[in-house]
């Protein structure tokens, strides 16, 4: 298994003046195999962008080691940089150029620029080539950024909230395009940092969740979905349920008389049947969407745990 990204023991904190510093990333470990499409999720300010900037050597590790495409990120040479594409949350371009001039300008830096891919992308995203870059709407700037980040067919594509300025149509085009890139070249690795979880859920195969500087999830989306569930618990005879279910797999519980809602972590069918027998209840288990799993991986979880203790 070749790794596209290898982060070992990475720590980073931003100084906050006199009040000291807050750790943004704390002894982070992350390995991303080549060919994966990773969704990097987490609350605002959790360090998603900081992590991405470490990957391109834009920020240097205060502790630990970051390697991308087999090269230490702080020392990326131009050949390796030419294999990376990045779309920033807010892109800045040269306003006075036309879209076409800007594309040509950037393309001139890459010997392997794929004009055919560029033209297909410009068509799909409905970008106007003779529009001035300075007059583009935020959504269209985002589209231009995407063309500029992918025209050289990068082996590693890093996207920081790429869907932010796009309307639903543009978002679905973007996701469609990412999948197409993967289908054409299996070895392309894509990391998409976003909190539009419905978009992420649609395309990624792996989820990485950052919270309080650490990873609270680093696993395939499938296994994340299979791990958490919401149970509707009923006492068949209408008898009141216990005040609290003591099982450690119950992450959160709301109990009202003979009914309860439980959020569970990692329970198999057998264990669920045992639970039903033990408490004399019937359970309806439902899968959770990424939107519903998100609070379990982030701050909400902390407050529930505090509540319970």
């Amino acid at each position: 298994m070749t790794l596209a990204i290898d982060v070992q023991d990475l720590s980073h904190s931003y100084s906050r003046g006199r009040s000291g510093s807050t750790p943004t990333l704390s002894r982070l470990q992350l390995q991303v195999p080549q060919g994966s499409l990773v969704g990097l999720i987490g609350r605002n300010g959790c360090g998603k962008s900081t992590l991405l900037r470490h990957l391109i050597g834009d920020v240097l590790p205060q502790r630990g080691r970051v390697e991308v495409l087999g090269c230490p990120a702080p020392k990326l040479d131009s050949a390796t940089l030419a294999r990376i594409g990045m779309v920033y949350q807010r892109s800045r371009f040269i306003d006075w150029m036309s879209v076409e001039e800007h594309i040509r300008y950037v393309a001139s830096f890459y010997p392997d620029w794929d004009v055919e891919l560029e033209q297909r992308l410009v068509g799909q995203l409905e970008l106007e080539l003779d529009a001035r870059v300075g007059s583009l709407s935020p959504g269209n700037v985002q589209k231009l950024a995407l063309v500029l980040a992918t025209g050289h067919r990068p082996d590693l594509l890093l996207l920081d909230e790429p869907a932010a300025g796009l309307d639903p149509f543009g978002r679905s085009e973007l996701l469609h395009f990412l999948l197409e890139l993967l289908r054409e070249r299996h070895e392309t690795t894509i990391v998409i940092a976003s909190h539009v979880l419905r978009d992420v859920e649609k395309v990624v195969d792996h989820i990485v969740c950052l919270h309080d500087g650490q990873l609270t999830a680093d696993q395939p989306l499938d296994s994340l979905q299979e791990r958490y569930a919401r149970w509707q618990v009923l006492s068949p005879q209408g008898e009141p349920l216990p005040h609290q279910f003591p099982e450690s797999f119950v992450v959160r519980q709301i109990i009202e008389g003979p009914q309860a809602q439980l959020w569970t972590d990692g329970v198999g069918d057998e264990e669920r049947k045992a639970f039903e027998q033990r408490h004399g209840v019937s359970v309806n288990s439902r899968a959770l969407t990424l939107d519903e799993i998100f609070p379990l991986l982030t701050r909400a979880r902390d407050s529930w745990l505090r509540e319970a203790s």
Binding site: L179, V203, L234
Partner: protein
């Protein structure tokens, strides 16, 4: 082959693909030897990650449902009769589980719930499709009757 996946249902997409292919086989829509679309085509049709389709296919292959032959499309393997029958009931049993718990919740006695289910079966009855295995048998027997 019509597959419909809901990427926002929380049920892993590879599971949805596996379950639907199994249902199609159980209902006779996909018969032994039927070819499946390539990973690339199916993932493009469904708008999902190719890895997801290839995971579903590999697991179906592991379960003995599909067969991979070098350089050719995946095909449906011949299924033991007893297994086909069991697989036919599996999705139905799963779908009935929430109905059963709801009946308990509402305090509806078992007999009454069964009557309701029977009524519902009658209300939704459609002429048997020629594609389902049992209908195939009956169609065959009708043919032979006509011929005689």
């Amino acid at each position: 082959m019509l597959l419909v996946v809901d990427v926002h249902s929380g049920v892993p997409v590879y599971r949805q693909i596996m379950d639907q292919i199994k249902v199609h086989i159980a209902s006779g829509l996909l018969s032994t030897g039927a070819e499946l679309p390539s990973t690339r085509n199916l993932s493009s049709d469904l708008g999902v990650n190719p890895m997801t389709v290839s995971k579903a296919y590999s697991l179906l292959e592991r379960d003995g449902v599909l067969e991979r032959r070098p350089g050719r499309p995946l095909v449906v393997r011949e299924q033991p009769e007893a297994q086909v029958e069991a697989r036919r009931l599996e999705p139905l049993r799963e779908a009935l589980h929430p109905c059963a718990t709801l009946a308990h919740q509402l305090g509806v006695p078992a007999e009454e719930a069964v009557t309701l289910y029977r009524e519902e079966l009658q209300n939704t009855a459609i002429p048997p499709s020629p594609k389902s295995p049992s209908a195939k048998n009956s169609a065959r027997s009708r043919d032979s009757e006509e011929a005689s």
